[in-house]
């Protein structure tokens, strides 16, 4: 039928892996509750498959042959690649949507030269979202990657074009499809500065994102982002692609900078799919 849900959420590995180290347990539980609402919303949308636009962390793609964009067209995936004790998510198989993924890829290719992959191992960037959004791993998943790790990175206006292409593709097939984008806003993960968050920068970005202000979102440049939002800030590409795919305004359901042990400003939001809204 078309796209029936669009949202964004955080994916930092600490969200599951360091759950027990958190001192502010009330805030943590509020975050988890908001993620569960997102799960319910996706379920209520009747989605038959979930696209996860992720920014992976060297689980599949390396500088040997790095695609800017890739769509998974496998029938089954596995994850996490990380030590399951460390991530606190057991190794599991996740169903794919080979035929649907292939049809979407064909449609996206009309405007964006996307790569595709039949093999895909999920890292925390997808496993943490799935742990909350489809905890029984019974919803077919179509993984999508935007390279946010190994520069040169795709420019933001191309992430926008990719999001639009994905929307056109979703609207061209009979299935009901949900899409989430998962990234960090400002953060300095996997450095000694882990836990550093630029809250004013995050709030400004989220304001632009919720207004779905294309020009303002594409106004960031990577040098400034690196300085103000860290290398983790490059992951805004996934959020920008979702805004483009959704077309409508966003509604911020949760944001906090009060869980630095998770190494990111924790975010949950949904979007209106109505372009006129």
């Amino acid at each position: 039928m078309s796209l029936v849900y669009a949202g964004v959420l955080s994916h930092a590995p600490g969200i599951t892996g360091r759950a027990d180290l958190v001192k502010n347990t009330a805030k943590r539980d509020e975050f988890y509750a908001k993620l569960d609402i997102q799960r319910q919303e996706i379920e209520a949308s009747g989605a038959e498959a979930l696209i996860v636009i992720a920014a992976e962390h060297f689980a599949n793609f390396f500088m040997s042959n790095m695609p800017a964009y890739c769509i998974g067209i496998g029938s089954e995936y596995e994850g996490p690649i990380e030590d399951p004790e460390w991530l606190r998510i057991p190794k599991t198989k996740v169903p794919g949507a080979a035929d649907l993924g292939t049809r979407l890829t064909r449609e996206v290719m009309k405007t964006v030269d996307v790569a595709y992959a039949e093999e895909w191992k999920f890292d925390h960037g997808i496993m943490v979202p799935l742990h909350f959004l489809t905890p029984k791993y019974d919803l077919p998943i179509i993984p999508v990657n935007i390279n946010c790790q190994g520069p040169p990175l795709t420019p933001l206006h191309r992430a926008w074009a990719f999001g639009e292409a994905l929307r056109r593709a979703c609207d061209s097939v009979p299935e009901k499809i949900a899409v989430v984008g998962t990234g960090g806003i400002s953060h300095w993960p996997a450095t000694p500065d882990s836990g550093k968050i630029n809250e004013p920068w995050d709030r400004e970005f989220l304001d632009r994102l919720m207004r779905n202000d294309r020009e303002a979102l594409l106004g960031y440049d990577d040098m400034q982002t690196y300085r103000d939002a860290g290398q983790g800030g490059f992951e805004i590409r996934t959020f920008i692609a979702i805004a483009a795919a959704a077309g409508g305004q966003g509604e911020l359901q949760f944001y906090t900078a009060e869980l630095p042990i998770f190494a990111v400003g924790c975010t949950v939001a949904r979007f209106s799919l109505d372009k006129a809204a």
Binding site: P13, G14, G17, R18, L21, V22, K23, H57, F58, A59, N60, F62, M63, S64, I81, E82, D83, W86, L87, K121, D123, Q149, G150, P151, W188, P189, A190, T191, P192, D193, S194, G195, K196, I197, Y226, G230, Q231, P260, I261
Partner: protein, 111 residues
Amino acid sequence: MSLYYLQKFLYQLNREESAQKKYRADLEQLLEEYDLTDEESNALREGDIGLLYVLGVNGQILMHYAAFLGIEWFDYLDLMREGIAKHGPVRAGVYAMTGGGESFTEEGKKQ
């Protein structure tokens, strides 16, 4: 300087159980497969997180490797800080330390 192969070694180790088996059975043979300097090979033999961080291994690759080695979270952050104290700032890539090495989390502050 073969940072590319150093990272490739860790990338493959992190994602492939077959590489993890080789690592445990015969690390020397696995190291042979990559074009590494002595400094890089030694850092891998010793699991020297601090040096690998300073050499410019992407932080995500290094974080997954530290988890593979079973290093606790706050120890892993401290090992990167110690690497910088010993070897100087990060030499390549985008995962540099921006501050003086202080902890940004209440939970990670030393008693």
